[in-house]
């Protein structure tokens, strides 16, 4: 059982721990006695982590800084990934998982693997009785993902995950010696319309099949929709997940009367003969939430809002026979019924 689909209470040697420094800085650590984790606020000895409960706040040796030692979850893992690559984030992952009706026992196709952030969530959700076949075209990325999956206890004999180095657009999804009979598929590819015709060979004919294509540009969605229609998919739906993070804050409530009082003060000072105490009182700096002041609870949105991740195109294949037909659907007439 991978640590991404199970919990431990305390930290042992060799465990993967996510060290939370800030929301934007979460570092994975394999606990190795003798090693030291350093950041600019302090040093943390791995052996001091042993037998601590997950979730513990750990003070640095100097006592100035601290980190929290967190248990891995697919969501935290996604947060910890470097943001420069194109990652699937939790709001999209969560919605796709529900729309594809994934649950323990589901058999799922994913391509490409990419950073593996969705793969972690998939493995967690389908559990020990399901299957996940993930395909990655880019060789270096394939190798990195494979290594990571093994390290995370997700890939290996008897485990539900399979990773294949493959250009599914050209070579399809078949795996030698295996009947996939998949229940659902997720395509995060630059040209999903090239992969869609290959799906019919590997999806179950005994049930309703669900598909999601993840595309950043609207032109990709348009070609995908045409290909889906041409290949017998129905119930086409397209969504964008619009999400925003908010933090709670308190702001000082300043009544207009305080402005009027200060104007009076200034006026009265000016009326004094020149030379006499005219200097302003220093403004006191008030700490957020300090007693003796009126505070209003307000919500403050993130500074940098994620304006768009991708468009999510969903389609369904009804149970029954579905032949390889239609190609990429580029010749489909506009407005065709």
């Amino acid at each position: 059982m991978s640590v991404f689909g199970g919990y431990k209470k305390t930290i042992s040697e060799g465990d993967l721990v996510l060290a939370w420094i800030t929301r934007d800085n979460i570092q994975p650590i394999i606990v190795t006695p003798g090693k030291i984790f350093n950041n600019r606020f302090g040093s943390y000895h791995h052996e001091d982590m042993l037998n601590l409960r997950y979730g513990s706040q750990m003070l640095s040796k100097t006592g100035h800084g601290f980190i929290h030692l967190l248990h891995p979850t697919p969501e935290l893992w996604t947060l910890s990934l470097p943001h420069r690559t194109q990652i699937l984030y939790t709001p999209d992952i969560a919605f796709v998982t529900s729309m594809l009706a994934l649950k323990p026992g589901s058999k799922m196709i994913e391509s490409g693997t990419g950073s593996g952030s969705f793969t972690h969530a998939l493995v967690r959700t389908v559990g020990g009785t399901g299957k996940v076949w993930t395909y990655e075209y880019h060789e270096r990325r394939f190798e990195a993902a494979k290594e990571e999956f093994i390290e995370h206890g997700m890939l290996g004999d008897g485990l539900p995950l399979t990773i294949t180095h493959r250009d599914v657009c050209k070579e399809g999804f078949d795996i030698e010696g295996e009947t996939l009979d998949a229940h659902a598929a997720f395509l995060d590819l630059p040209a999903p319309w090239e992969a869609i015709p290959h799906l019919s060979r590997v999806i179950s004919k005994k049930r309703q099949i669900r598909l999601c294509c993840f595309s950043p540009c609207i032109e990709q969605v348009q070609r995908t929709l045409a290909a889906l229609r041409a290949n017998g998919w129905s119930d086409l739906q397209m969504f964008e997940i619009v999400h925003r993070n908010w933090e709670a804050r308190q702001t000082l409530i300043t009544p207009l009367s305080s402005a009027i009082d200060r104007l009076r003060e200034v006026r009265d000072k000016r009326r004094l003969p020149p030379g006499e105490a005219r200097k302003d009182l220093p403004k006191k700096r008030v700490k957020e939430g300090e007693e003796g002041y009126d505070w209003r609870a307000v919500s403050v949105g993130e500074k940098e809002v994620k304006g768009h991740t991708s468009y999510l195109t969903f389609a369904v294949m009804a149970p029954g026979e579905h032949e390889e037909v239609g190609g990429e659907g580029e010749d489909v007439e506009e407005h065709a019924g």
Binding site: G5, Y7, K9, R23, R53, Y54, G55, S56, Q57, M58, H68, L69, L70, P74, E75, T90, P91, A94, F95, T97, S98, M99, A101, K103, P104, G105, K107, R124, G127, T129, G130, K131, S204, Q208, I218, L225, R229, G232, S234, D235, L236, F239, E240, I241, V242, H243, R244, N245, W246, E247, A248, Q250, A297, V298, S299, Y311, P319, H335, A336, G337
Partner: protein, 408 residues
């Protein structure tokens, strides 16, 4: 691996009608299921068939599977057909004539649509696109048939939201899915849940647990309200993780009645002995269930908690937090952001930061029209969807001992 799901006898079934409304029916064997103006059919004809098929209803309640239309949307109200005066007078068939067609048992819905379209005086003037739109509108009106919907979380959530959004605290698929992800629900986990939506949250969590682990439901009345679970058609195994305690039983175990005592000898000898023994057995079983659940709850170390409640979360979260294990998620939903704002400030000030970086998120799934050449976001979208606060329970270095002792 999961079995291929089929319609079972006596289950609750969601049917999509040509009007795009969803109707719930009970599949009692050997009965006729009526869909009003959309026709009737025999329950036995769908038992054992897979979800997702679309049928047309023909004569004598027979059903015939038909291909789902690839374009099954009606265009949103975009005024691109401005030139046409599309008023009622353009239709040359009278209302009475159309009614007569509908009553003629020899004419199928598709045929009526064709006749109606042919009789539309301006039909030729319409664009190809507008013609299709018109046809779909008429099909909605005259077709007899239905689609068997799979009981998925989005389908059920949408159905409940449309029926009574307040009953489920305005929650939508986007927020509910996010809750399941943030709470890291998987087979074998042990979760606390507060669910004042009538069971939608419990059902969604159960579905992801696959019959393994524990789902402790904390409820406000004497019994948990889990009606919504029936739409999911769970097997007994899928339901097995559920345990439950009322808030009184959970937070004030000392007020629980003691183990029922043996009845007085008179109760057995006065002739009602058999009933009294049965009653006692029932009371003992119930007491045992509560006792076991209480021990479970108080043992702590829970793998997360999900709170979707009509009660102020400021009074709920601190009460159950000590029973949640370190580094496990605390996820709270509310229909209004302001409720979570207060909770967040309370957590920040009041509980020595036992929740790491609580963040409030709004999530909306913005749907687009997908018609070829007409892609745009839907012109109207339902409001609602609520807000989700999530964070991780952490163990501050200075209160580690205290936190631990609360859960011994």
């Amino acid at each position: 691996s999961e079995e291929n799901p089929v319609v079972k006898a006596n289950q609750q079934l969601l049917l999509l009608l040509p009007s795009k409304n969803v109707k719930v029916v009970t599949v009692t064997p050997k009965t006729t299921i009526s869909l009003g103006k959309f026709g009737s059919f025999k329950s036995d004809d769908i038992i054992g068939t897979p979800y997702g098929l679309t049928y047309e209803i023909h004569e004598n309640k027979t059903i015939v599977p038909i291909a789902p239309s690839a374009i099954d949307e009606i265009e949103d109200d975009v005024g691109n057909n401005r030139e046409l005066n599309d008023d009622a007078t353009a239709q040359t068939l009278t209302w009475q004539e159309i009614e007569a067609l509908k009553k003629d048992k020899n004419i199928q819905g598709k045929e009526i649509v064709e006749k109606v379209m042919a009789a539309h005086s301006n039909f030729d003037k319409k664009t190809e696109f507008a013609k299709e739109k018109y046809q779909r509108r008429k099909e909605q009106k005259f077709l007899r048939g239905f689609t068997v919907l799979a009981p998925t979380l989005p389908t059920i959530c949408d159905y409940l939201w449309t029926r009574d959004q307040h009953r489920i605290l305005d929650i939508r698929t986007s927020s509910l899915s996010y809750i399941l992800a943030q709470a890291n629900v998987f087979p074998g986990g042990r979760y606390l849940v507060v669910d004042d939506t009538g069971g939608l949250i419990v059902a969604a969590m159960l579905e992801r647990m696959g019959g393994e682990g524990t789902l402790m439901v904390l409820h406000e009345n004497e019994h948990p309200a889990l009606d919504v679970c029936r739409y999911f058609n769970f097997s007994p195994r899928q339901l097995s993780p559920v345990k439950s305690l009322s808030w009184l039983q959970a937070l004030h175990p000392e007020e629980t009645d003691p183990r029922p005592e043996m009845p007085a000898l008179e109760a057995i000898v006065d002739g009602k002995g058999h009933n009294a023994a049965k009653r006692l057995a029932g009371r003992l079983k119930s007491w045992g269930r509560v006792d076991k659940a209480q021990k479970d709850f108080l043992e702590g170390g829970w793998d997360g908690c999900v709170v979707v409640s009509t009660f102020d979360p400021v009074t709920i979260v601190p009460a159950i937090l000590p029973y949640v294990e370190g580094s496990r998620p605390v996820v709270v939903y509310a229909p209004h952001k302001e409720t979570l704002l207060q909770l967040s400030i309370h957590l920040h000030n009041g509980t020595k930061r036992q929740i790491l970086a609580p963040t409030i998120v709004s999530l909306r799934a913005r749907e687009y029209q997908t018609l070829p050449g007409r892609v745009h976001p839907m012109m109207t979208m339902g409001g609602g969807g609520g807000w989700v606060l999530s964070g991780l329970r952490v163990l501050p270095s200075d209160i580690e001992a205290v936190a631990g002792s609360a859960r011994q």
